[in-house]
């Protein structure tokens, strides 16, 4: 009964949406801000990857909110999982030799790859979020292998807090100098496609990468060790 009712409701919703879709032809979009960003993005932000310039500069405030959400999730998860439960004493099997050796071999490579992705965020596909996720997956490997022994909680706390602060501080510096707008790109733009170009965009993406990496790693750590 419930299933049939739900399906009926969904069909009604779907019909409604389909009736409004004819205004949105596929492959032929109405792009007012999109066109502006493509045409002006290079001069105004100096980033070769226009998606990056939209994410960090045109819509940088959204990104600040998004970083906040990830921070919230990490904090909320910590508060939910630790608020009453004690650390459960589970027996963990030691990881196999293959996993340990593989981890030692792969770990620096994964970290390097993650760092490469977020440092080159303004030049090639990728950026802070993708790079951060890759770094977090490196930490997942560590937890699987060593069961979170020697995990430095203070270090991750400092990393995530200070990278968040750097993001806001860069914004506030933009408010204080240059043309007095929050998050305005006050550094020189440089040559297109150079590593050192696009003003504050790479700096912000590095901060985001560190923050996302440490937060996702913390989420995984909390779920694995404290639940």
């Amino acid at each position: 009964m419930r299933v049939i009712l739900s399906i009926l409701v969904l069909i009604v919703i779907c019909l409604g949406i389909v009736s409004s879709l004819h205004r949105i032809p596929f492959g032929n979009p109405e792009t007012k801000i999109g066109k502006y960003c493509i045409n002006k993005g290079r001069e105004e932000t100096g980033a070769a990857n226009i998606v990056t310039s939209v994410v960090v500069n045109y819509r940088g405030f959204d990104t600040l909110g998004e970083v906040t959400i990830l921070f919230l999730a990490a904090i909320g998860l910590g508060s939910i999982l630790t608020s009453m439960s004690k650390w459960s004493q589970r027996k963990t099997e030691p990881a196999s030799l293959i996993l340990k050796t593989g981890c030692r071999f792969l770990l620096p490579l994964i970290l390097l790859f993650g760092a490469y992705i977020f440092i080159h965020g303004h030049l090639s596909p990728g950026g802070g979020f993708q790079g951060g996720a890759i770094i977090a997956s490196a930490f997942l490997l560590i937890y699987l292998t060593f069961h979170g022994k020697g995990m430095n909680e203070t270090g991750s706390k400092v990393t995530e807090s200070s990278s968040g602060l750097i993001f806001i501080l860069l914004g506030l510096i933009g408010l204080a100098v240059g043309n007095h707008y929050f998050l305005s790109n006050f550094l020189p733009k440089g040559q297109l496609n150079d590593l050192f170009s696009a003003g504050i965009i790479p700096l912000i993406y590095i901060a985001i990468g560190l923050k996302v990496g440490s937060e996702l790693a913390k989420v995984i750590y909390n779920l694995m060790e404290k639940s």
Binding site: P125, G126, A133, A136, L216, I220, L223, M224
Partner: protein
């Protein structure tokens, strides 16, 4: 091209439907990640490489890891 895309989308929808019917939650999670992975390929076809990377690394890999950890801590089979 269009045939490849259509096949991918059909696979994606089949994987999503499979996620409804699997009793074993681990299988359902794998199916959901299959959906994410195919979505990542579709993003690439739609000329969105950034999003494809994010979806593949976050949506498919990390989400799967988080799900599997949670299932290990709870129960594996749907009653």
């Amino acid at each position: 091209m269009i045939i490849v895309v259509s096949l991918l989308i059909v696979f994606m929808l089949i994987a999503a439907i499979a996620a409804i019917f699997f009793r074993d939650l681990l299988n359902a999670v794998i199916a959901a990640c299959m959906v994410s992975l195919i979505a990542a390929i579709l993003f690439y076809f739609l000329h969105a490489p950034d999003v494809a990377m994010a979806e593949a690394s976050i949506g498919a890999a990390l989400v799967a890891a988080i799900f599997i950890i949670a299932i290990r801590r709870t129960q594996r089979h749907e009653e």
